[in-house]
Structure formats: C-alpha cells, structure tokens
C-alpha cells in the first residue's frame, strides 16, 4: 500500500497520571487535527512508560517501525506539532527520539514492567504476542511443588514492604491439606509516594492475573480475590476488563488452557482504610468486617481468608511471577545484590524534577535515583530529606544518599525499602512538622485494636505540639522517644510499630528543627 494511504499509528497513555496531566484533552486535539487535515490516524491507548514528567507522552510509529516519542504534549501544543509533521515523526523541539533511547528509560531493567506502556492493557492478543502466558504454560507442565520451588529459587521477596520470601509463603499453603484455599492480592497501595501497583494494574493487568493463576495452580487454590483501594478507579476498571477477557480465552475459569484446573478471580474494592495494606486486616475487610488487625499466629498461610489457607501477596510480587516461570528462577535471581534478588519498580515522587517509575535491579543508590534519574528537585533547591518506604519509612539526610537499595543495607541504617517509594523534600521542609504528621496519620488510620497505636499516636501529636511550642523541649523530646519505643515494641502490627521510624529519624537527623523557636 502506498505510504500516503496508511494511517499514522499513535500510542498515547490511558494511565491515571497521564489523565491527571491532560492526556484526554490531547487525544481530542489530535483527533481534531487529523480530521482537519484529512489524515487517517490510528490511536492506541496504552499504559504509561513511567516518565511522568513527560506526560502526556505521544508516540508515533515511524517508517522503520520505531516508536518515536514527543512530550510533554498538552492539547495546546497539538496544532503546531501536527503542522510540523508529527504524524510522520518529523523533528520538533518536543521530539525525544526512540523511547528506548531516552536515558531515563534506557538505563532501567524492565522485567515486571516489560509490557507496561507498550501494549494495549487488556488485550489478550497483544499480551500473548509480547510473551504473556508463557509462564503459566510452563507452570502447567510442572507439579505444584516444582512451581513453588522455582519461586523460592528466584529469591523473590514480598514487594509490599515486608520482604518475606514469597516461595516460603507459598510452600506453607501448598503443604496444607487439600480443601478450599485462596489466593489474595493485596492491591491496597496506600503508601504516599508509591504508584507501581497502580501503574501495573492499569498498564498490564493480565500480568497480575497470570501471576495469581500460577500461584493458585502451585498451591491448589481455586478462588482468588484482588483487593483494590477505592482511590484507584482506573485500576478497578482495567482489572475487571482483563478478567473478563482472560475468562473468555480460558485463561481463567473451570478448565484453564485445557488443563482441567480451575481458578476464578474477583475484584473487591476497599473503602479508604490505610490499615488494609496490613494483610490480616485486609482479610477481615474481605470478609466484610471492620478491618481490625488479627493476632498472629495463626498465619494467613494456615488460617487466612474465611479461616482457610491463603496466599496473600502484593501486586508486584505476584506480577513478577510470570517472568520467573517463563525465563526460569536463575534469570531473575541474577539481578540484584546480596539477599535482595531481582528488580524493584522504584517510584520517584514528591519534589523531583523527573518523577516517575524506574525499574532497576537492587543495588542502585539513592543518590543515583535522586539525581541521575530524578534530575534533582523540581523546585531547584537542594534536596534536604527523602522518605523511603511510605509513611512508616525513615527520613534520610543527604549523608545517607549513598546507601544502595537493598533490604539489609536499609535495615542497617534503621530505614526500610518498603514498597520502593521515594519522596524527596527540598530545604524548605520542616522536619518537626513532618514528624507531627507521621503521628497524626497514624492516629487517623489506626484500626484501634491495640492501645499503643490507638492512644500512643494521639499522645504523640500532643507531645510534638508541645515541642513545636517550645514547652519543656528537653523533657518532651525524652517523652517522645519513650513513647516511640512503647509503640514500636507494644503495637500489634506495623502501623503503630513503625510510626516511630519517620518520627525518630527526623529527631535524629534534623535535631535543629525540633529546637528552634517558631
């Protein structure tokens, strides 16, 4: 066919972050410009490449079949871009070249996120064409125990934050007597500064569906639930569509790929409770109760959902399973350092020039992430503190920026990698106020079951208020430390138990903010 008659092929993100920056208006403008010029365009909506500062990102396929990126393309840029030859991938100030050549993207190791931003999110055909369901097909040729062993050998640890070896969890469930068992995905991604679960669920939901199906086959479960927070309506829609498509192609249902094995999957929606990220409270919520944390033992792997053995894993843990099965444990294990194997989708957030998602093998330092990827602060001021691992993670000063991202290295400095969110603050931040906020957040989100968390967090706000007001500073700082110790050792779960991380790290590394008059 003659070149002029072929429709220009465009890829534009449908990710919530792109929507938040005006991508829908860009799409309307692109369609209008094409119509006005009498040009045929085919516009595919894909996930986000994760370079949020370049959104809305528009990719155009050139004559050689390469995807050429332009960004950020807001609606008001469209007329001049189209006039300059956007549909033929011609030069322009916003032209970034091939996506794979953009340094931010080129320097990553995309395993779990390999398809995000590349394919149409819920399309089985595109998913399979890009290596999807190879992991499941291999799993169906193995025994459950062999699948569990493969996951164990990969070194995969829980990406939700606790970093517990995924294979060991699975083995416990596998070894329980046959009977009803469940696979539950914890998609209650409530940590500020994190959005990798959201991006994966919106951009490649079938990877999660496949990972859960492999888990079910490995442990002998026939029913699964994905518990998604209600703040993520885009994810909920994408997952539901992906599940319908998977069922229509026998990747879910009563006879998966003709194997005779059955697995059903359902999306359940949370209701704005941060505590549901804690696995036992999530199970309570799924059962229709107040999401109060359970005592342990028993472990969820032995008595979980509805009292039955349950695999409960984070989105990224489960979404990393398909590639482990498809390419083998050794392939995945060869990435990383020490006991932190594989890759981590890191989220660069807060006051950074180039915020977004960076999937890298463990071992990359904070400094590389903040400056080489993140480009320094968005405000142009010095970065003074970063919080890693969500609201319960420690605040780190510049002197700790050379710490490699590794579970053990972070534990050694009293910090946590958590779910891989990094929030940067410039030098205008008041760390005493951030410490107060950590206690306030804990008070708002405490489930109320245990006293150290429920009462301790409220008392914590009051003590920090007195410090801020300059009332008996020394005595109140001692009181705060004492209180944090009680919460740390006396709380039933990580919410109360780890609220001391941001508070005491702020006191330790930024003492001046707690002693100055304001």
């Amino acid at each position: 066919m003659a070149q002029a008659l072929m429709a220009a092929l465009l890829y534009v993100s449908c990710d919530a972050a792109a929507e938040a920056l005006g991508v829908d208006e860009t799409v309307v403008a692109l369609q209008a410009a094409a119509k006005a010029r009498g040009v045929q365009i085919q516009l595919k909506r894909v996930g986000s490449r994760g370079m949020v500062w370049l959104e809305p990102l528009v990719e155009v396929e050139d004559a050689a079949g390469h995807r050429i990126a332009y960004g950020p393309v807001t609606a008001d840029h469209v007329p001049e871009l189209v006039a300059a030859g956007l549909f033929d991938a011609k030069p322009h100030a916003l032209r970034l070249g091939r996506v794979e050549d953009i340094p931010y993207f080129a320097k990553q190791e995309r395993l779990t996120f390999a398809r995000v931003g590349v394919i149409e999110p819920c399309s089985i055909d595109e998913y399979v064409a890009h290596g999807g369901y190879e992991g499941l097909k291999r799993a169906l040729t193995l025994s459950g125990a062999a699948v569990v062993q493969e996951v164990t050998d990969s070194g995969l640890r829980g990406r939700g934050g606790a970093a517990f070896p995924t294979g060991i969890k699975w083995k416990t469930v596998h070894d329980q007597p046959a009977g009803p068992k469940y696979v539950v995905c914890n998609a209650d991604e409530g940590d500020s500064g994190t959005f990798s679960d959201r991006m994966l669920m919106e951009g490649d939901p079938l990877t999660l569906v496949e990972g859960m199906t492999i888990a079910a086959i490995a442990v002998g479960a026939t029913q699964g639930y994905i518990y998604v927070r209600c703040e993520y309506p885009h994810s909920i829609r994408a997952l539901r569509e992906a599940i319908v498509n998977a069922r229509a192609h026998d990747y879910l249902g009563s006879n998966i790929c003709g194997s005779g094995k059955a697995f059903e999957l359902e999306v359940r929606v949370g209701a704005g409770a941060y505590i549901c990220g804690e696995e036992t409270s999530l199970l309570e919520s799924l059962e229709g109760k107040r999401a109060e944390v359970r005592y342990r033992p028993p472990l969820p792997a032995i008595q979980g959902l509805f009292g039955k053995p349950t695999v409960i894993n984070n989105v990224i843990s489960l979404a990393s399973v398909p590639i482990i099965l498809a390419k083998g444990a050794a392939y995945y294990r060869d990435f990383g350092m020490g006991r932190s194997r594989g890759t981590l989708p890191i989220q660069l957030a807060g006051n950074l020039k180039h915020g977004g998602l960076v999937e890298k093998a463990f071992g990359v330092t904070l400094r590389e992430l903040l400056y080489e990827f993140g480009g320094g602060s968005a405000s142009g001021r010095p970065i003074r503190a970063v919080q890693v691992g969500g609201p319960l993670g420690a605040y780190l000063p510049e002197s700790q920026f050379d710490t490699p991202l590794d579970y053990e290295a972070f534990t050694a400095i009293g910090a946590l990698v958590g779910h891989g969110g990094i929030v940067a603050f410039d030098d205008t931040v008041d760390m005493a106020r951030m410490a107060r906020y950590a206690m306030e957040f804990c008070a708002i989100e405490s489930c109320g079951k245990c006293t150290p968390c429920r009462i301790g967090s409220t008392r914590g706000v009051e003590v920090i208020d007195r410090i801020l007001q300059g009332v008996e500073r020394k005595a109140n700082l001692a009181q705060l430390e004492n209180l944090c110790e009680t919460m740390q050792h006396g709380s039933l779960c990580g919410l109360g138990g780890m609220a001391s991380n941001p508070v005491m790290s702020a006191v330790k590394h930024f003492p001046g903010d707690f002693s100055r008059d304001r």
Partner: protein, 158 residues
C-alpha cells in the same frame, strides 16, 4: 437517584439480592448502595443487618470504620484533596487552604450551594505530579491554587 422511599427501598433490596449470597458480601453491598444513592442512609441499616443475619451494631460498625463510606448525602461532586507526604513536598498545604477558603467549608462538609463535598484523602497514587486532587473519579495533577480554581469552575457547571 431514587425519588421516593419506596424506590429507594426497592433499589437497596435489589443490591442486597445481587450480593447477599456471595462470600463476605457486606463491603460490595455498601459500595453498591453508595454508588447508587451517594451515601448509605442510616434507615437502611436494619434492612441490611436483617438480610445478612448481622446485628445493626455490626453493620453500623463497618460503615463508620471506613473513611470512604458516608451516612449523609454528598454534594453534586466530591472533591478529594491529597494530604500525604509526596503532595506535602509540593506544597499541598496551599492547595488545601485554598480549597477550604474558596469553598467556605472544612473537610467532611458540603458547600452551601450543594455543588461540592470536600474530603481529605491520603494518597491518590499520583505522587510524581503533586499536589493531586480528585473530583468524583477524575484525577488532577500539579494542582496549584490557580489550577484548582479552573478545575472547580469546570465542575461547578456540570
């Protein structure tokens, strides 16, 4: 929205019938009712409790535990303003203060004209482009006070 008590009752009964038999049905039922009516009317609690064989206290306890469920009708639109750390790093306090000042309400309240209910939220997952707000299901990033004015103007007309 349902116009009469009878219609409302029929709607709730329909939602109960859809979900009552599934395992752990209470949250899907509460979501169903709030999606349809905008809130969970307290006078429906006895009905929900009866169908699920729970006490009224248990149902009320669940509704009041979760920040998202509301027991009073909201305004035409719900504005969620993110207060979490990543947005704080981008000065969301300014956006927050502006929202409260220009709507004349605090968190949890509805404007006098019934256009907006203002709610705090702890993370919308848009942490690389804060400060973030959400109006109903629509997400907005880099929301300075000036941009918030434009967003509110757009939604006030709907």
């Amino acid at each position: 929205m349902a116009e009469t008590d009878l219609q409302r009752q029929a709607l709730v009964d329909g939602i109960l019938a859809t979900h009552a038999a599934q395992p752990g049905p209470l949250l899907p039922i509460l979501h169903g009712i709030q999606d349809a009516l905008g809130y969970i009317p307290p006078d429906q609690v006895p009905r929900i409790a009866h169908v699920l064989n729970l006490s009224r206290a248990e149902v009320h306890g669940v509704i009041s535990f979760y920040h998202y469920f509301r027991q009073e009708p909201p305004g035409r639109h719900v504005l969620h303003v993110c207060r979490a750390e990543a947005c704080q790093a981008m000065q969301c306090e300014r956006t927050e203060a502006h929202a409260k000042a220009c709507l004349g309400v605090d968190y949890g309240d509805t404007t006098a004209d019934g256009a907006f209910t203002l709610e705090a939220v702890y993370c919308l997952g848009n942490c690389a482009a804060g400060p973030s707000v959400m109006v109903d299901d629509k997400l907005y990033g880099r929301v300075t006070p000036e941009r918030l004015d434009a967003v509110l103007d757009e939604w006030r007309k709907r």
